[in-house]
Amino acid sequence: MAGWSAPETLPRPTLIPLGDSAVVVRFGTVLTDSANRAAIALADTLTLAPIAGVIEVMPNLISLLLRYDPRTASAATILGEVRLRMASLSATGGTGRRWSLAVTFDGADLESAAAALGMTRAAFIAAHNSVPLRVLATGFAPGFVYCGLHRDELALPRRSAVRPAVPPGSVLFAAGQTAITATEIPTGWHVIGRTEFRNFDPQGEVPTRLSAGDMIDFAVAP
């Protein structure tokens, strides 16, 4: 979805309790650019203007998790505060930082992924790197990031088989997204390359560097 335009209005949120100690604010049922932007914008707003009683905010692909202690905060109050903040929310801003990431495109699935899209390897790499991608979400695994959204011509389903383990720094591709691993994980995505960039340091005060909303320019590693 290169060159997305700022939506005038944000999708309407649905507020859903997740157990007795959290609520999810969801901006749709499928991953869209506007739902993702809304989730990130609300997360940014709640970082700047926290809701009393909310002890953790986690933005996801199309939603936001708010964790609270039901012994000291009420869901009704939190939901009311979310609605108030939604009223003044704008997804046009963007506090995201800009990153440049060098990727060695030599993944085991690079050739087959390019072929499946009817592209040469070189054309695929060029198309992949042609526009910056937004960090859509974090949190699936330590330091793991989903980036996107690619334009429709680059949409490719996951592989049917799961690789039991890919190493940290693997660059993965599927479902209109590029993902970067920071720990060893199993994956059903196409492995298209690797990067030296490591987005997880448990000894750091803040263990990851990339945040949802950051923009990444992908480049071919020298």
Partner: protein, 299 residues
């Protein structure tokens, strides 16, 4: 006070835990912490414990006090505990002197027992916590389960032990609130989820507990794959083949399988202690009711 204990025999997946590593979900790290929180607290009250404790699994463990002396409190499920061979009450506490042994062996029920010491466990905090996260390999001793031969130092002052009142063992259905994706399940299937009998399978660990769906409630539940969304402990997710899994403390922070329900906080300890082969049913309650139970402290 300071003391050193050595692990002599260690059952699988025995870990160091504290209250948990909260606030790290966006970095991809779930909170971990004790599978039975109330029992962890109770063991701490028996010992006047400071930071951290040991979570053992059904097989139990044997340890020896190498040096110093130290009060050790224990609670959680039902285990047999012997101090230098002499049986002790579980839950309870004993004072260990150098050379003393403590042996914890399986009892009548429960999966998790807790040993806590009068003082702090000397482990390097990672992101503010010493809890072992088995998924991410963080905390505890080098992010791993304990092994025979591991030495654990106890340091700092103990607090005044305050033996807790005996907790009543709750019975009855495991209570849930409807889940994040309950609306995707047809009403008939939701009803069957509440009337069906499930069995705790032998596939359980700190990440999740797989259930046997004997009545094949979810066998034909063809559900779409979803945009991945936040997970909380207690979430009941249904895999593509219909297998229900209840996600626990070391859960992955986000996931794309549909979740029909979430076990309420007040019943999650009890659920964690259900051994493989245990029958269970679920009962739906409102979020408000689940929260009232927590406020009353009946959780």
């Amino acid at each position: 006070m300071s003391a050193v204990v050595t692990m002599v025999r260690v059952g699988p997946l025995t870990t160091i835990q504290d209250e948990g590593r909260f606030g790290m979900l966006r970095h991809g790290i779930s909170a971990s912490g004790p599978m039975d929180r109330a029992a962890f607290v109770a063991a701490g009250q028996w010992a006047g414990a400071g930071r951290g404790g040991l979570e053992c699994t059904r097989a139990g463990l044997d340890l020896r006090l190498e040096s110093g002396n130290c009060l050790v409190g224990f609670a959680g499920g039902d285990f047999v505990v012997r101090h230098n061979g002499a049986p002790q009450e579980w839950p309870g506490a004993v004072r260990l002197a150098p050379g003393d042994s403590l042996a914890v062996t399986p009892g009548r029920w429960g999966n998790y027992g807790y040993l806590r010491f009068g003082g702090d466990i000397a482990a390097m905090p990672v992101l503010g916590s010493i809890a072992t996260n088995s998924r991410a390999g963080l905390g505890g001793l080098d992010g791993r389960a304990l092994r025979a031969g591991d030495a654990i130092a106890i340091e700092g002052e103990s607090r005044t032990p305050m033996p807790p009142l005996a907790a009543e063992k709750a019975e009855g259905p495991i209570r849930v609130t409807w889940g994040l994706h309950a609306d995707l399940f047809p009403a008939g299937l939701r009803q069957q989820f509440l009337t069906g009998h499930f069995v705790v399978s032998s596939r359980l660990d700190r990440m999740g507990v797989q259930l046997e769906d004997k009545e094949r409630v979810f066998a034909d539940a063809a559900l779409l794959s979803l945009a991945s969304d936040a997970i909380m402990p207690g979430d009941v997710q249904i895999l593509g083949d219909g297998t229900p899994i209840v996600l626990m403390c070391d859960h992955q922070p986000t996931g794309g399988y549909p979740r029909i329900a979430t076990v309420i906080t007040a019943d999650l300890d009890r659920f964690a202690q259900l051994r493989p082969g245990s029958d269970l049913t679920f009962a739906a309650v409102t979020v408000e009711h689940a929260q009232q139970l927590l406020r009353r402290g009946t959780g």
